[in-house]
């Protein structure tokens, strides 16, 4: 009997609070019937409570806003419809790309938690680019290790993350029952970027900022990309893209489904291995046989030339380019013969740099006629100054690509 009593007690101590906490939901101000919306009747009740001095005028304004403008829904990059029932005041952002979008929308004051790539910007190799994010609660990495406790403790009313990371089952298991909406954006994808900025602007009541950015993007880069789209396949050079993510191996390339393939396509190149899926090692002979017109080499290393390097410090990239130029098996390809061999680094593919630097350099290399008056550093500098409010000089420092022209 004693044992049964002890077990029952333990059940009450450990299990019941668990049930209680798992069923706890983020409350909606003014919602009294639990449908997560504020009806006209509930608004009247709130006005009555305000008259009786039970709630403040600010509370009443919030309830009125929810009644008039919520719920709001957006379709995220997975096609999932995400519904927001109240004004977003606390955001947990897991990606640097979306962090930059929040900066563009002047909404960093709403951020309460961020991934380690933002909070520990310096240690993660981003220099001062995200230095203003150091004070947020660190929720780890969306790819390998989300700190779920820190995330829940931050009590966000919106979580923004990648399309495939963290896995949906992990999100369901760890955030299930909290009713915290999660939006998955593919913010590295050029075809979705403006859609994402505009929808985030709508969710955060920052439509003007979103529109301003959209105009800037069209003026600075979008018009070039539109011209590229008009080019026929025959006018696009054949490109061999070699990616080195740190293993030092050669002949690894990116096929369809990989973000770098999308980058090449948007910049006006015809990836010779676009028929492959993802990241694969290919036969060197097949590269030689496909006769690429241009060879692009992507290098990912923490010590690679980056945003803080001296402008003239291009030695590492020159070595990488020379190694490619000296590959005998590719010696007869137009790319090597015409020395159309280019190297770009991780710094070119992160956040807004993916577009203004990465796509810009690729455009200049692959479609020089279209991009002849495009200046990647100037466009990126303007983006950083106007929309990111970051004090980083990319006109007089930073090594991102070689050769730049």
């Amino acid at each position: 009997m004693k044992i049964i009593c002890i077990l029952a007690l333990l059940f009450c101590i450990f299990y019941l609070p668990g049930i209680a906490s798992s069923s706890e939901t983020a409350s909606i101000p003014g919602d009294t019937n639990g449908d997560r919306m504020v009806s006209a009747e509930e608004l009247q009740n709130a006005e009555k409570e305000f008259g009786e001095g039970k709630i403040s005028s600010a509370d009443l304004e919030t309830i009125r806003l929810i009644h008039e403008s919520y719920p709001r829904s957006v379709k995220d990059s997975t096609g999932e419809e995400v519904t927001i029932y109240k004004p977003v005041e606390r955001i947990a952002v897991m990606t640097t790309e979306d962090y930059e979008i929040l900066r563009t929308l002047n909404s960093t004051d709403k951020i309460v938690a961020a991934s380690k790539y933002i909070v520990q910007s310096m240690e993660e190799g981003s220099g001062d680019l995200y230095a203003d994010g150091a004070g947020y609660a660190n929720i780890g990495s969306p790819i390998s290790s989300v700190d779920w406790e820190a995330l829940i403790k931050a009590d966000p009313d919106l979580v923004i993350t990648y399309v495939s990371s963290p896995k949906q089952e992990d999100l369901d298991r760890n955030l299930g029952g909290t009713n915290i909406p999660v939006i998955r954006w593919d913010s590295g994808n050029i075809s979705q970027y403006i859609y994402i900025v505009k929808n985030m602007g709508r969710l955060l009541d920052k439509d003007e900022e979103a529109e301003e950015y959209s105009e800037f993007f069209d003026e600075s880069l979008g018009r070039y990309l539109d011209e590229v789209k008009a080019r026929s396949q025959a006018e696009k050079p054949k490109v061999y893209l070699e990616a080195d993510f740190g293993g030092g191996q050669t002949y690894f390339t990116c096929g369809s489904g990989h973000a770098h393939n999308a980058l090449v396509a948007a910049a006006g190149g015809d990836n010779i291995f676009s028929g492959l899926q993802g990241f694969k090692q290919v036969d060197p002979e097949s590269v030689a046989m496909k006769n690429p017109d241009a060879i692009l080499r992507y290098k990912y290393l923490k010590d690679s030339p980056g945003i803080e390097k001296e402008l003239s410090n291009t030695t590492a990239l020159e070595v990488l380019r020379d190694e490619l130029l000296n590959r005998q098996e590719l010696g007869r390809t137009p790319a090597i013969q015409n020395r159309c061999v280019y190297v770009f680094t991780w710094d070119c593919t992160r956040g807004g740099a993916r577009f203004f630097l990465g796509m810009g350099y690729l455009g200049k290399w692959l479609q020089p006629e279209i991009f002849h008056d495009y200046h990647p550093r100037e466009a990126y500098q303007e983006y950083l100054n106007r929309f990111q409010h970051v004090d980083v000089d990319v006109l007089n420092s930073g090594v991102f690509a070689y050769p730049e022209e």
């Binding site: 390998s144 990371s165 740190g246 002949y251 694969k280 090692q281 290919v282 097949s286 005998q328 010696g331």
Partner: protein, 359 residues
């Protein structure tokens, strides 16, 4: 008179029997050499570049007989610059790994032993992961990953030796020390993968699957040199390894310095393994299974087992790499996957067919 005659007859029979015994094994040795030559000759003709069989052989022979054979720049570059060193690295790498496995199984008297049992693959993987994820290592530049893999492999061997020496060099202490080292380095590698970026983790995984895509003539010479340096000693010690199989006491009574033999052999095979896997990544299956396959075919006499295991390993790795680079061309599959795909069915076939115990 008749008794002496009978003794002579018996000795002659014994000699004949022994010659038949060794002859059978030598015939397997030559058969493996022939199979490797034939497969290498065939592998040289395979690839994405559209070069005819005649074109390939002309390119090969033109280097030896410049006046008699003509070739063009493209064929010469593809054959000599891409295919031949890869084929040779498969042969010498497979030879080294299989020999190392045969020696390890012999000195530790354990059918599951291989250089990888002693934590060598884990140490090499950690060295490579350290270079890939943290960019840290003992040497810089293009040798960062290779240098790290090699040095950590040697360090792991020394650590196993140190731990085993502390408790006495026996098969049990060496295996237990090896397993401890293996788990230690595996945990360290997992930690690095945990903190690394997705792309870096992917690189580490690719490295640990093994590939001959990093081959070059320099690497072929280095691996060949290390094997040429170490293998003769192992072959000389093959009698001693045979004696160890009968038990440490018996080996000692036969004049074998058991501890010394075990330590020197372990260090040499670790050195061979380090030299191979620092260039290829971890290809573990060859070292474990090639000696077993050979043992099932020719028995456990290490004088023959060591060279024939080596040849079987070379043949297996060459076959695996040839399939890996052609089956889904232009994509090249990691060779570590293919060695298991090819080797396991053959191993299981021999295992099922074989009636008597081979170990």
């Amino acid at each position: 008179m008749s008794m002496a005659h009978s003794q002579d007859n018996s000795a002659a029979n014994l000699k004949e029997e022994y010659e038949r015994f060794t002859g059978r094994k030598l015939s397997f040795l030559f058969a493996f050499i022939l199979a490797i030559i034939l497969l290498a000759g065939y592998a040289a003709t395979l690839g994405s570049a559209d070069i005819s069989v005649m074109g390939v052989y002309s390119a090969i022979l033109a280097r030896f007989f410049p006046g008699h054979f003509q070739t063009d720049w493209f064929s010469d570059t593809i054959v000599w610059g891409l295919r031949l060193h890869r084929i040779l690295l498969a042969i010498v790498g497979g030879f080294g790994l299989a020999t190392a496995g045969a020696v390890m199984q012999g000195i530790l008297k354990n059918p599951l032993a291989s250089p990888f049992t002693l934590g060598i693959s884990s140490a090499a993987g950690f060295g490579a992961a350290l270079a890939i994820v943290m960019g840290a290592g003992f040497v810089g530049g293009q040798w960062l990953i290779v240098g790290n893999a090699f040095i950590f492999t040697v360090l792991a061997s020394l650590a196993v030796y140190g731990l085993a020496k502390y408790k006495g060099i026996t098969p049990e202490t060496m295996i237990l020390a090896g397993i401890a080292i293996m788990y230690f380095f595996s945990a360290m590698t997992s930690f690095l993968q945990y903190v690394g970026h997705a792309e870096q983790v992917q690189e580490v995984v690719f490295w640990m699957m093994g590939s001959l895509g990093r081959s070059s003539w320099d690497k072929v010479w280095i691996v060949s040199g290390v094997i040429a340096l170490c293998f003769p000693y192992l072959l000389i010690k093959s009698w001693d390894i045979n004696a160890l199989g009968a038990g440490d006491e018996t080996a000692k009574s036969l004049g074998v310095n058991v501890e010394r033999t075990r330590v020197i052999c372990m260090m040499l095979v670790s050195f061979i393994t380090a030299a191979v896997i620092c260039f290829t990544g971890t290809i573990g299956f060859i070292g474990l299974v090639a000696p077993h396959i050979t043992r099932m075919i020719i028995g456990g006499d290490h004088r023959f087992l060591l060279p024939i295991s080596g040849l079987a390993g070379g043949l297996l790795l060459l076959a695996a790499d040839t399939v890996a680079r052609t089956i889904l061309a232009p994509v090249i599959l990691p060779v570590g996957i293919m060695t298991a795909f090819l080797g396991v069915p053959f191993f299981v076939y021999l295992f099922v067919r074989r009636k008597k115990e081979f170990w």
